[in-house]
């Protein structure tokens, strides 16, 4: 299984190095959204309460993770378009690769790409929203756990729709509701990481992200075989 995981990951990353779709198209897309959010929300608005932070800074974590989600949808769609467009799913089935290995390989490749995107988007968010970072360790853990959760769940549902002609429009419909807990948990944990807000238990939210990731790791490894069979 690990061999197949590595094989798929290396192949997908090699394709990305050649085509640069994620870095040349999806990353600029994410940056554009961040900038548009910055333009749409006035920096003069101030949150009521003791902190009196600008609104844009207060909602920066949510906007950042929303941008990541939209970018992830594109990356996931791209990852399975590679397999579905020229019958490669059939070829993978005929090769007899371990379905769990294929699942983990695809998810790992998307994770690597998404972490790269998030790193650049993070700097972009810092520039646009100007939010400080109070707890960098919690922020790093949040980014990692949320990304893994997004890619594991997203890979599973993208595979579900891979063989369908309507997959491009179906995947967001399937994935976005499922990823609502990730959006919530990542936003809350990031808020704690940025502002050290005593009212927000950041590590607890990070724990939720870890449970979500573990859940979809198990479900994905079990369900990917039948999904690959039926796609």
């Amino acid at each position: 299984m690990l061999r197949d995981t590595w094989l798929m990951t290396v192949k997908d990353l090699r394709i990305e190095l050649t085509s640069r779709v994620v870095m040349a198209q999806i990353l600029p897309f994410g940056l554009l959204i961040l900038i548009l959010f910055g333009l749409a929300i006035s920096p003069d608005l101030v949150v009521v309460g003791e902190a009196r932070r600008p609104v844009i800074e207060e909602i920066a974590p949510g906007l950042f993770w929303l941008t990541v989600l939209l970018s992830a949808l594109m990356a996931l769609g791209r990852a399975f378009a590679l397999e579905a467009d020229d019958g490669n799913l059939d070829a993978l089935r005929m090769a007899g690769l371990d379905p769990a290995g294929v699942f983990l390989g695809k998810a790992l490749a998307v994770t690597v790409q998404l972490v790269a995107v998030e790193t650049v988007l993070g700097f972009g968010a810092f520039v646009v929203f100007g939010a400080p970072v109070a707890r960098p360790g919690l922020l790093a853990a949040t980014v990692l756990l949320a990304t893994v959760g997004i890619t594991l769940a997203g890979t599973l549902y993208a595979a579900l729709a891979a063989g369908l002609r309507v997959r491009d429009t179906l995947v967001p419909l399937l994935v976005l509701p499922v990823l609502a807990p990730v959006l919530l948990g990542a936003t809350q944990a990031s808020r704690d990481a940025l502002f050290a807000d005593p009212g927000v238990p950041g590590w607890s939210w990070a724990g939720l992200l870890a449970v979500f990731s573990l859940l979809y790791l198990g479900v994905g490894m079990l369900a990917f075989g039948p999904l690959l069979e039926e796609s």
Partner: protein, 368 residues
């Protein structure tokens, strides 16, 4: 034969015994395969023995491609019964095992556009747990070793893509070759190569099903023609099965089917001993002490050992003139397999009056 898949309501008779003395590779009895709710195959009966080259003919949408996919273990068997290479098609687990032993050349190329030809071949060789060293001879034989090796598949012409796809298929070294329009998009060199490859594969123990609209060319190499229409086998040539030489053609006709080379004549000096292996088909030749499988597991058999084929239930050859000889399925036909062991010529089905296919009876023409 395991239980029939869920939803099977079609009474299916016992599987055909196949040709006496010959291993049966494909046995389908009232096989039904659905694409969504459409019965792409609506009760197919077909028996194919080892060493046959079966030409599937029929109009577009007749079910030829689905039949090939069913035999590859990709399309589901929704009704009836079926065994391919000894694997029960109604069992999902056995279909997975079957897939490793078959090679499908489909309309899709099974290639990644963003990777080069070499990268594609290396990936699929690793995915199929093949020896990396087996890629180089294939690149060489298909004239992909030089200029095209490092070209991205997206930049290839349609014919070159087809050639690269064929290279991946050859790397798999399947036992059952399922070729969907193998001549499509190829120039004369390519078509000649495909023909040579088919003959060579059969000479080394393979069995071939090909669907082709290039009838004249395909009929030259086929040992039997099967007409598919409306998701069913309408007609099969009753005389062709006796044309296949006894025993494995691999042992006797290898010298008559040298390994083909793209754009050139076949090798002048084919392997005189088939057991020595072919550079293209059959069991891959392993280098001495080669543990260089890509599994990373020492000693692991990465290319799955072929499942033992079930011998035909009628293993004893019937005496000439027996009932079996007169039966439509094993009828005595012209024995035009040459004494040199060359692949037998294709007897062509004469479709019935009013048929939309214009058949020709090669045997009659040749005798005339």
């Amino acid at each position: 034969m395991g239980p029939v898949s869920d939803g099977d309501t079609t009474p299916a008779g016992p599987l055909d015994a196949g040709q006496p003395g010959r291993t049966v590779v494909i046995q389908l009895r009232q096989a039904i395969s659905l694409i969504e709710r459409f019965p792409a195959l609506a009760g197919v009966d077909l028996t194919v023995s080892e060493g046959e080259i079966i030409l599937l003919r029929g109009p577009n949408g007749a079910g030829k491609s689905t039949l090939l996919r069913l035999c590859a273990g990709l399309a589901p068997l929704n009704g009836g019964r079926g065994e391919v290479l000894g694997h029960d098609l109604s069992s999902r687990r056995e279909r997975r095992e079957l897939r490793r032993q078959t090679g499908l050349l489909a309309h899709a190329t099974f290639l990644y556009d963003e990777l080069t030809v070499e990268e594609n071949l290396m990936f699929w060789a690793r995915a199929n747990r093949l020896d990396e060293a087996s890629v180089e001879p294939v690149l060489d034989r298909l004239a992909l070793a030089n200029r095209l090796r490092h070209v991205r598949v997206a930049n290839l012409s349609a014919g070159q893509r087809r050639r690269a796809s064929l290279a991946v298929l050859v790397c798999r070294r399947p036992r059952l070759w399922l070729l969907d329009e193998p001549h499509a998009g190829l120039d004369v060199n390519g078509r000649d190569f495909v023909d040579g490859l088919i003959k060579h594969a059969v000479a080394f123990g393979g069995t071939v099903l090909l669907a082709s609209h290039d009838f004249d060319r395909a009929a030259e190499i086929a040992t039997r023609t099967v007409i598919v229409a409306g998701g069913q086998v309408q007609e099969t040539d009753p005389s062709a099965r006796a044309d296949i030489p006894e025993g494995r053609m691999a042992r006797r006709s290898a010298s008559a089917a040298p390994p083909p080379r793209w754009g050139r004549e076949p090798d002048d000096a084919p392997p005189s001993d088939p057991a020595a292996g072919s550079p293209l088909v059959g069991r891959p030749p392993r280098s001495e002490g080669s543990g260089a499988r890509l599994t990373g597991r020492a000693g692991a058999s990465s290319n799955p050992a072929p499942a033992p084929l079930r011998p035909s239930r009628a293993v004893a050859p019937e005496p000439v003139g027996s009932e079996a000889d007169r039966s439509p399925s094993v009828g005595a036909g012209p024995q035009d397999a040459g004494a040199d062991g060359a692949p037998p010529k294709a007897p062509v089905v004469e479709a019935g009056p009013g048929s939309r296919w214009r058949g020709r009876r090669r045997a009659a023409a040749e005798s005339g």
